[in-house]
Amino acid sequence: MSANTALAEKYRNNFLKEIEEQVEMGDWVKMCMQCGVCSGSCPTNFQSAWEHPPQELFMMIRAGKREEVLTSSSMWNCTSCYNCIVRCPRKLPITHIMHGIAEYAHRLGMAPKMQPTRFFSGLFWKNCTHTGRVNELKLSMGLYFKDGLGAGIKEGMKMKDVAIGLLKAKRLNPFELLGGHKCKDQKGIQAMLKKAYEIERSRKAAKMAG
């Protein structure tokens, strides 16, 4: 049984409880009073980027629309501007809830595979935890070449002028490709993160069992 099926079985007919127990800050969802200030404050919602803006997602969670919420591209349009958080009259940490739902959907393999920000988000985390510090060049290259070599070269060409500008200003170093900045105690960082994931997994499993 896949993780997704197991969780769907366990929380059958109670998607709100599933979100409360399995998603970071998910226990805040029930506090939403559907005023819509978050949706009206979201910069990318103005470009009709959100299939379902935050307050709509909150209502869908309460209505048990599990599949629709977790497969939605909506949460991935968050720019982490925190406007929704500071404006929410009920003080819901909306930005964190959006990140939390996105992370949960990604963890279950339900997030839209081709969503570019989902891809970039995973890439960023891998990039920065690999050596302890971000390698900006590898990060950009990883994004441009996500759809293969041909597409990557095309994407790279589109970015040519931006890259030349940064090179001239000494804010892009081609030698980062060969190694670049890193932490000394990479072993410690890996061990520490491994432990953190273990603890987090066991806490979530305990909630599911309890």
């Binding site: 990318t44 982490s80 406007n83 985390w125 935890t129 990060l139 931006v162 804010r171 953190a196």
Partner: protein, 303 residues
């Protein structure tokens, strides 16, 4: 001994050859003038930034920041941590807040840190460089060192998101923070308090992953600066700086605009006003050159 000493968390983008290396150069010059001593936290790591959320999870993300706290406590005991990057500052402050409010999260963090041979006993204060300038030094002290006022230069203060929300600078409003305009006035330039895009999001990481969405935002930010007669934009955030500056060419192609406005850090303005050279202020680090500032930086200093 310096007047003010802090544990310094420079962040990934500030490193040599990285996208905000000009920020660090100018901050170093600025701190020299102000007698502020920053000691880099040895072997600091990335904060994880907000965009790592797909795989960061809750505990791993906080553990990354907690490692920096532990290293700071071990090597620079008793010093507050100062970040220049908005995302570093926000990430670290968020971790501080969460760990302070949850004993479970704190215990779990300590257990994970043990794997790297580290621990936290005291939770450090996390400050942004602008907080240090405003709260620890104050505008009068900052102004005292101005020997070359940026007279007649009109500058739009673009605060952006992450130095402003969800924490922000004490005493400032989320919708209309004033401190950056005051800093512009402090260096002798002309501020634009009615600049209506001062807290608009630049698109953040979406500038990489979904440029059309971010560039629609950046267009509004730059256009409004022009509409208000600005000849340059100033910001306290490395990602705001990069996003608003480096995509102007692409925006021109996309929208048929003719944008070419320099985007500076507050620290660069201060270094020039403090009598520093173009090199001290890292003006060579601009993709869109700030000619007017270069001219001023070449002038003799009024002492």
């Amino acid at each position: 001994m310096a007047k003010h000493e802090y544990a310094f968390y420079p962040g990934c983008s500030s490193q040599k050859g990285a996208s905000a290396s000009n920020y660090l150069t100018s901050v170093e010059s600025m701190c020299k003038t102000l007698d502020v001593k920053l000691t880099e936290i040895p072997d600091w790591n990335c904060c994880g930034a907000s965009i790592g959320y797909a795989e960061a999870g809750e505990l791993p993300r906080h553990v990354m920041n907690a490692r920096n706290f532990a290293l700071s406590e071990k090597n620079l005991p008793g010093q507050e941590i100062v970040a220049t990057c908005a995302a570093c500052w926000l990430g670290a402050r968020e971790t501080r807040e969460r760990l302070t409010h949850s004993d479970t999260l704190m215990a779990d963090t300590r257990e994970a840190l043990k794997e790297a041979g580290l621990t936290i006993n005291e939770m450090p204060n996390i400050r942004h460089m602008v907080e240090v300038l405003i709260e620890d030094l104050g505008f009068d002290e900052m102004k005292k060192h101005v020997v070359r006022p940026l007279e007649g230069v009109k500058i739009a203060g673009y605060v952006g998101c992450q130095t402003n929300r969800p924490f922000g600078v004490d005493g400032e409003s989320f919708e209309n923070p004033q401190y950056l305009d005051k800093m512009v006035e402090m260096v002798g330039a002309e501020s634009i308090p009615e600049y209506d895009m001062k807290v608009t999001c630049c698109g953040g990481a979406l500038a990489f992953s979904e440029p059309e969405k971010a560039q629609a935002q950046i267009k509004d930010i730059v256009e409004s600066a022009y509409d208000h007669g600005a000849e340059m934009i100033v910001t306290p955030c490395p990602l705001c700086q990069a996003n608003v500056e480096i995509y102007q060419g692409q925006i021109n192609q996309r929208y048929g605009t003719k944008f070419n406005i320099p985007v500076m850090y507050y620290s660069q303005l201060m270094v020039v006003a403090y009598g520093g050279s173009a090199k001290d202020a890292a003006l060579n680090g601009q993709v869109i050159k700030a000619r007017r500032l270069e001219e001023i930086a070449a002038k003799p200093v009024k002492r």
